[in-house]
């Protein structure tokens, strides 16, 4: 059953990606990118990574779509058709894809109890968090308590990114300078 769901989701993602490549209307491309995000969120749900799926749906499908649309409003709404035949890009994509598939051959199989990711600190967190933190959602316990410093840094990064965008494109400085000139 899970296999079937995976196959359906992946073929829908491939179809969406092909449509994105073929389309020239950037509005449709942005919408399809949102669809792609939602599909990958569903994929993460089947992997039981609900927290990540939640983030992907909210950020990837929600906010990025709105921001891409705002960017489209600033620039052009349709892609220029390229004159060259796309043989080199196809080659690059095929080689990269082959390298990635070759890379997965060495990976431990899904759910392998001896995989490095499940033998290092994960069992320790799972064992300790219930009586040390007492929070049922282990992801929250790790994120906000065990890794509190990391999350503080992450919040700092979000803050810095926001300030950077504000300084670059909101025109706060320009407005102030104009006010200064008027005075």
């Amino acid at each position: 059953m899970e296999m079937l769901i995976d196959i359906v989701l992946f073929s829908m993602m491939v179809a969406t990606a092909l449509a994105i490549v073929r389309l020239r209307s950037l509005f449709a491309v942005v919408m399809l990118a949102g669809v792609f995000s939602l599909l990958s969120a569903l994929l993460l749900v089947t992997l039981d990574a609900v927290d990540v799926a939640f983030t992907e749906a909210a950020v990837g499908a929600g906010i990025s779509t709105v921001l891409m649309l705002s960017t489209l409003a600033l620039t052009s709404r349709s892609e220029q058709p390229s004159a060259k035949a796309g043989l080199t890009p196809l080659l690059v994509v095929l080689v990269t894809g082959a390298a990635l598939v070759y890379g997965t051959l060495d990976m431990p199989s899904f759910g392998d109890p001896n995989a490095p990711a499940t033998t290092h600190v994960a069992p320790d967190y799972l064992e300790r968090s219930q009586h040390e933190i007492g929070v049922p959602n282990v992801v929250t316990a790790i994120l906000a308590s065990y890794r509190g410093f990391d999350t503080l840094g992450e919040t700092g990064v979000v803050f810095t990114a926001g300030i950077g965008v504000l300084l670059l494109i909101s025109g706060l400085r320009r407005r102030r300078r104009q006010k200064g000139e008027e005075e």
Binding site: F27, I63, S70, L74, T140, T151, G156
Partner: protein, 147 residues
């Protein structure tokens, strides 16, 4: 204000309340269910952004003025870092939430996680809305045909 898209405007007004409520649920129920500050912040920002998209930038900026958004950006980080300093002044390590309830360290952890998640949520909401304002303020409203 542009007086068209009647269905969009009515549905948006109906949706904004539940969206904000859901954001608060994700924010404060993050200990028990998927979600937390990051997701809740984005969802809360979406409530404002959808209002701006449908009703125009000027309308949403009456509800949430840009200067307030800029303060929110910093407020979240201050809440997070302040929680750390609070535990520091109570004689514990930085961000050691056990400080808030020495007799029951578990309760202290709950308080600490709630506080820092609130900080994260406020910063993320602020950043998302600020970025949307920054983009939207640069373009005049496009007519439907232009899309």
């Amino acid at each position: 204000m542009i007086r068209h898209h009647l269905i969009l405007r009515v549905v948006t007004k109906l949706l904004i309340g539940p969206i904000m409520l859901f954001a608060l649920y994700v924010q404060f129920h993050g200990d028990y269910s998927p979600g937390g500050g990051f997701q809740a912040g984005v969802i809360m920002a979406v409530a404002f952004i959808i209002y701006g998209v449908v009703f125009g930038l000027a309308t949403v900026q009456q509800v949430l003025p840009p200067w307030l958004v800029h303060k929110l950006l910093a407020l979240g980080v201050i809440i997070y870092a302040g929680t750390g300093f609070a535990s520091l002044f109570l004689g514990y390590a930085y961000l050691d939430y056990g400080a808030f309830s020495p007799a029951h360290p578990e309760h202290g952890q709950h308080w600490g996680i709630l506080a820092v998640e609130l900080g994260v949520g406020i910063t993320v909401t602020g950043v998302m809305v600020a970025v949307y304002y920054a983009f939207a303020a640069r373009t005049p409203m496009l007519s439907d045909e232009d899309w």
